[in-house]
Symmetry: C2
Subunit: 262 residues, 2 copies
């Protein structure tokens, strides 16, 4: 073993000390939340916003979010069942005996295509990105959510009707909508008084969307910070909608309104 | 090689002759239909009913239906994408250059369970049994249906609302409902003037259901022959509902009514 210099030891100590300060001397921790998809654009905005407001945040994604207090990594090529059991056991370890105030699933993706070409391929991808993540989030909720906690999933406004040009996407999001209603029903397996909702964005104001649609009217796009703050309020018990709601995020002139579907 | 007796040759010839009579001397063939799930209780009833009425029937299932004119076998453990491409190529070979008047998907299954246990496992099974088969049927329709043909999928009345006790089943059937609407939409990839519907049974009068629910009121169960005859009528252009309809099959006092959802 090489002998370490005093300078190296000092740098190491400074690191420990900074960490200690961050974790122990700021305000008391507000509570614990899980963000599924914590490395996506919206997921990262949620991780940042909860951290800024002094929450302990666990990110679940294929890659770690360094801002989060803990990370659970998902293997892309594992089966649905294996992803579920791996996530449940990793979340259990990260939490020890504590429970969480919210499980927020903002994982997802998009693919176009109709019945004429690659329907199975596109549908399979959409199912993995939206439905696997939503169902695993539901299982995390059933196991680790506090009574009265929040479980939020991510649907899509277009999937309330026909989506012939994005068939796999529409099916997956319709399944998420129906799952939201089931989870809000009696004996769903979630703790008592859980709040279950799905947000149904139209277009989120992400760097990727700005890149691909540079000439769009951004004043109709929903800011990520608005959505992150919604989750924070609901988690704190403020302005809660009815459980089972599918909440369309309608943004006009840079103002976003929540419009329950149906 | 062993030398065959005259008797063996005679028996073989008699078989060929019977086959020839069956295929060539009855009335002219009414047309061609595909039944996905042709070995299930409802699927087999459909195969029998179309055959009796002089249609050429192709059955798609994991096991052959010997009554059908042709069979396409699906490998249970193949991926969704591989099942789709294998089915499309086998259907193409079976049809040569002809097209079909109807693609009828009656494949499916049932599993209970909420979010607390085996959600991924149950949902995965339901997805394979109901959504893979429906989407592959849609792809078969896009490739091999005649203009004005019928594509019928199988949904479920309970999935129109929350299904907390059968969460995976509800999600899968909700996806089938949404797919039905998408397929009936503009530029869905189906031929012009296709009729796309989903039947939403409550309980079908199958031997298996009688076995498991022996004390139920059978006069509220829908007979398989009623459903098979519906498909026959729609295929022939009779009593067609609007494309995109989700048709609940409501049976009371042994009479079944079709009630469009919403």
């Amino acid at each position: 073993m090489s002998k370490r210099s005093s300078r190296e030891k000092l740098v190491e100590f400074a690191g420990f000390f900074e960490n200690f300060l961050n974790k122990n001397t700021s305000q008391a921790m507000a509570g614990r939340v899980v963000v599924y998809g914590g490395r996506g654009a919206l997921g990262n905005a949620c991780v940042q916003h909860f951290k800024k407001n002094n929450w302990w945040v666990l990110s679940i994604d294929m890659v770690a979010n360094e801002t989060a207090d803990a990370n659970v990594l998902v293997e892309r090529d594992a089966s649905w069942v294996d992803q579920e059991s791996s996530v449940l056991s990793q979340v259990g370890s990260a939490l020890s005996d504590s429970k969480v105030d919210a499980v927020i699933c903002v994982a997802g993706g998009w693919a176009g295509g109709n019945a004429a070409k690659d329907l199975a391929k596109n549908s399979d991808l959409m199912w993995r990105q939206s439905v696997w993540t939503s169902a695993i989030s539901a299982a995390v909720g059933a196991n680790y959510l506090k009574p009265g906690g929040l479980l939020s999933l991510t649907g899509a406004k277009p999937a309330l009707a026909a989506t012939p040009g994005m068939m796999g996407y529409g099916m997956a999001k319709a399944a998420v909508h129906q799952l939201t209603k089931s989870l809000a029903g009696k004996d769903s397996g979630l703790p008592d008084n859980s709040l279950v909702v799905a947000i149904l964005p139209v277009t989120l104001d992400t760097p990727m969307n700005r890149k691909w649609m540079p000439k769009a009217d951004f004043s109709t796009w929903t800011p990520l910070e608005f959505v992150a703050d919604l989750f924070l309020k609901w988690t704190k018990g403020e302005e809660r909608p009815a459980s089972g709601s599918l909440l369309q995020l309608i943004t006009q002139d840079s103002v976003t309104k929540l419009v329950p579907a149906e």
